[in-house]
Amino acid sequence: MTRPYRFIGKATPRKDGVEIVTGEAKFIADIKLPKMLFGKVLRSPLPHANIRHIDAGKAKRLDGVRAVLTYQDVPEWKGGMPAHVRILDRKVRFVGDAVALVAAETEEIALEALDGIEVDYEPLPAVYDVEEAMKPDAPQLYTQFPGNVLPNRCPGFGPKSLEEIAMGNVEQGFEEADIIAEGTYAYENIPNPLTAEPPGAIAAWERPDHLTVWSSAQNPYWEGVLLYLRTERKVHIRYIGTQCGGSYGTRLMSWQLILYAALLAQAANRPVKVCYSREEHFAAYGLRLGSRIHGKVGMKKEGTITAISGEWLINTGFYSQITQGQLAVGCGEVQLAVRCPNWDLKPKIVCTNRTASGIVRGFGGQELKSAFLPLLTEAMGKADLDPLEFFKKNYVKPGDGYYWRDGNWWVCRGVDYTKAMEKGAEAFRWKEKWKGWLKPTRVNGAKRIGVGVGVHGNADVGEDVSEAYVRLDPNAMATIYSCLAEHGTGQRSSLCKMIAEILQLPLENVSMTPPDSLLSPYEIGPFGSRGTYAIGSAIIAAAEEAKKKLLERCAPMLKANPEDLETEEGWVYQREKPELRIPWRTGMGIDRTLLGYGRFEPDFTVPNFMMLFVEVEVDVETGKTELVDVVSATDVGQIIDPLNLKNQLHGSLGSAGVDSALFEESILDKKSGRFLNINLVDYKWRTFLELPAFQTVTLETPFPTHRFGAIGVGEVSTAAGPPAILMATSNAIGRRVYEYPMTPEKILRVLGKTKRGVM
C-alpha cells in the first residue's frame, strides 16, 4: 500500500532530540532562579503517631535558614479525594509523612536544619493490610472515615461515577454455569513506577494571590487547575512544565511537594525549589494500588461467562489521590476484556499506614486485572480452554456495550481486534507453544519453558476535554498552542506531524508553545492513551479552522471559492489550476495572523487494545524465572510515528509493568512500617543484560473517529503483562502460582522445595 501521507506513519526525528542528546533539555533540577532557596522536608520515623510537641527553634536560628514551617504554620489547604490530606498535619500516617519544611540558602543547610527540629511523638498502632484495617478495633487513620474505608465516588467523573459493576442477575448466572471458580487472588506487591528523574518543583510568588510553578507534570494546565482547587480557589496558578523525566502517570502526585515549595516561598519571600531525593521518591511518593479480590466466576464449557461476583479490596495507602477514579476505570476496563451479562463486583477503598498509591499507567485496570485474571484462568483451566481463544471470544467488539467511568452505558464503535490477536499469536507461534494448562512448552534439563497471554484495553482514549489553538503566521509558520510537556512518548512531535500534514508545511515550520498554562487553553493532558485521539482531534480541529480562514482570505485574490483552494508549502492555490497561487504572506499581509480554535469533547466509544504473549524459562533447581520472549499485538488504526510507538510498546517492561510479576516489589517491614528496599540496588530493575526478545505486531485498521484513522495505545502497554507472566510460569512448572512477584523463593515453595511448605 502506498501511503498518502508525507509525515504520518513515517519515523521523523523527535523535535527535542538535539536538546536531549546534548544535555541541553532542562529538567526541574537543572533550573535555577535568582535568589532561589532550597526546600527540604522533615519526615516521620513512625508509621502512625500524633505530634505532641514540635520545637523548630534551633533550626530557625541556624545561619542561612530562611523559613521553617510546621503544622501550626500552614493554611487549611487539603488534597485527596474527597479532600482529606493537609499539607502538614498534627498526625503522621506513614513512615516518611511530612512533619516540617525548611527553606535555606543551600541544600546542605536545609538538611542540617532538619536535624535541629525536635519532635515529640505519641506513637499509635499502625495497620497495613486492607482487611485488618476494616476490623472494628483497627487503628483509624482519619476520624471522618470509620473503618478506614473511603467513599467510592469520583466527583470528577460526574454525578453517576462508576462505583461498582452491577448488572443482570448473578444468582441466575451461576445456575447457568457449567464451571465455577472461586477464591482469593491478589496483586499486592505495590511496585514503584520510579521514573528516572526524581520529582521536584520550584515555586515563586508574583503577587500574594498569584503563584508561578515550575514542575515536571506532563499536563501543566490541569495541574494548575488542581492546585487552584487545593488552595481553596484563592491562589491563581501559572504552571510551567519542564522536560519531564518520565511520568507513567505518577507526576500527577506532585501537588504536595509543589505546595511545600509554595508555602516556603511565601514564608521566605523568595523562590524555593523542592527536589525529592531518590529515597523520598521511593518512600514518600506514589506506588501502584494494592489489589485483592474475593471472587467467583461462572462459565459455560465453551467459554461464555455467565456470572462474576466478588469484593475488590483496594489498598490506597495513607490517602487517596484519585483512587476512586482508578476504581471506576478499572471496573470499566475489566468489562472490555470479559463479556458477561451478570455482574456483582463491589470495590472498597481502604487506607493503611504506608505511602500512598496513586496514578500509574494501567490506572486501576492493571491492578484489578492482575488479581482478577488469575481467577478467570482457574475457570479457563477447568474448562480446558485455550486462553487465546477465550480472549478472542470475549474481548469487546463493535456493538458490545459496557458501563464506563461516568456510570453510563457506552456502545463500542471501534474495530474488531480478533485479527490483531491472530497476527500476534502467529508471530509468537502460540499454537505451537501452547500445550495446555499446566503443561510446559519445553523441558530442557532443569529449565522449564512455559507460555502465557494477557489482554488489556481502555476506552479512555477519548476521555476528557482538550482545547487548542493553531496560529498561522504569514511566513508560513504554524504554532500549536497546547499545554502538554514532553514526558517521553514523543507526543509533542507527533502532534506537530498531524498539523504539518493538514497544512502541508515542512515539519520544521510547525512548532508547539512551551508547556505553560499562561499561553495555552484548557488541556487536561496526555494520559490514558488520549494524546492521539483527544488532544490530536482538538489541535486538528484548530488547524482546520485556521486553514479555513486562510483559504477564505485568499479566495478573492485567487478569484475562486475557498472550497476550491488548497495550501501547500506556504502557498495557496486553485486545486484545478495549481499555477494560480499566492504565498501566505500575500494572502494574509505582513500584519496579520490567523487563529483557529479546536475543542474535543469526551467520547468513550472507542476502546483500544493490547495483547501480550510471554514466554518464561523457569529453573526448577534455583527457582529463577526469566522472561525470554515477548510479543505485543495491537491495532492502532494508523501509526503516527513508528519509533515513538515501539518505544511505548517496549515500555511494557518498565514503569512497574510486566516486571512487577517477576521481581519488582516494595518490601514493607510490618514491625516498623518502613520499606526495606528503597534504593536502586535493593529494588530490582531490568538491565540491558536481561532483555527478552521483543516483537511488536501492529495492525492499522482505520478508526473512523479520527482524522487520520488513529488511536493511542501507550498507556495500555503494561497492564496485560503480570497475569500473563503468572500463567506462563504456572504452565512452565506444572503448578499454579499466584503470588506476585515470582521470586525464586516463591517458585521453590510452590514446588515444595523449601521447608516453609506449599502455599
Binding site: 526525528p13 523527535r14 527535542d16 532530540g17 538535539v18 536531549i20 542528546v21 546534548t22 544535555g23 533539555a25 532542562k26 529538567f27 533540577a29 537543572d30 522536608v41 522533615l42 519526615r43 516521620s44 520515623p45 541544600e107 546542605e108 538538611l111 532538619l114 520510579l194 521514573t195 528516572a196 528523574e197 522536560q243 519531564c244 523525566g245 518520565g246 507513567y248 531525593s277 531518590r278 523520598e280 514532553e486 517521553g488 512518548t489 514523543g490 510515528d641 519509533l643 515513538n644 515501539k646 518505544n647 511505548q648 517496549h650 515500555g651 511494557s652 518498565g654 514503569s655 518502613r674 536502586l680 540496588v681 530493575w685 531490568r686 538491565t687 540491558f688 543484560l689 532483555l691 521483543f694
Partner: protein, 205 residues
Amino acid sequence: MKTRKTAKRKLKKSAVIGGSSSGLASRSLRQPSKAARNNERQKINLTVNGQPYQLEIGNRSGEIGPSDTLAYTLRETLGLTGTKIGCDHGACGACTVLMNGKAVLSCTVLTVEMDGRSITTVEGLRDPNTGKLDPLQQAFIDHTAFQCGFCTPGILMSTKALLTENPSPTEQEVKQALSGNYCRCICHYHVLDALRAVTQQGGEK
C-alpha cells in the same frame, strides 16, 4: 525516617567519621586543612570538555567544598547540567561522565580527587568548533533511542567510553557496558539499534 543526606554530605561524613579510608578522599580532605594552616589556598586543576579550570577549595560560592562530588561540581559550580543525578548513590548511571576517557559515576567521586584529570560530559560530545553532533548522538536521534531522555546523557557517556576503547563491540559487550544504566521507559532496544548503526558505519572509528 531520617531523611538521607545528599551524597555531598554523606561522602563528607563517611570520609571524616570513617577516617580509615586510605583512598584519595581522605588524603584530599586532609590537604585543604593543612593548606589552610599554611594560609595558602589549595587549588584543583581540572579540564572539562577541553576547557581548563582552576578551582579553589573552600566553602565560598564558586569554590570546591571538600565533600563536593564531581556531579555536584559539574552541575552546580560549572553549570553543566547535562549530567544528571538520578540516585546520588552510584546505582543508576545517570551521572556517568568520562574521566581520562573512562566511564565513571560522577556522584561517587569527589572533585578534590580530580586534580589533573580530564573530564568529558555530554555537553562535550559535539564538535566544539563546528557544533556538529557526535555520530553517536546523531544515531540516538535517528533511532529515537530515548523517551523521557533523563537517562540519555548517562547512556551516551557509558557508550562513548565503550566505543573509545572498543570501536566494534559485540552486542553482549554493549549490554555489559550499559548494564549499570537505569532506563525506566525502556529504550534499551532502540539504544541497541542506534549502537548497531554506529558501529557498522564505523562512525566511531
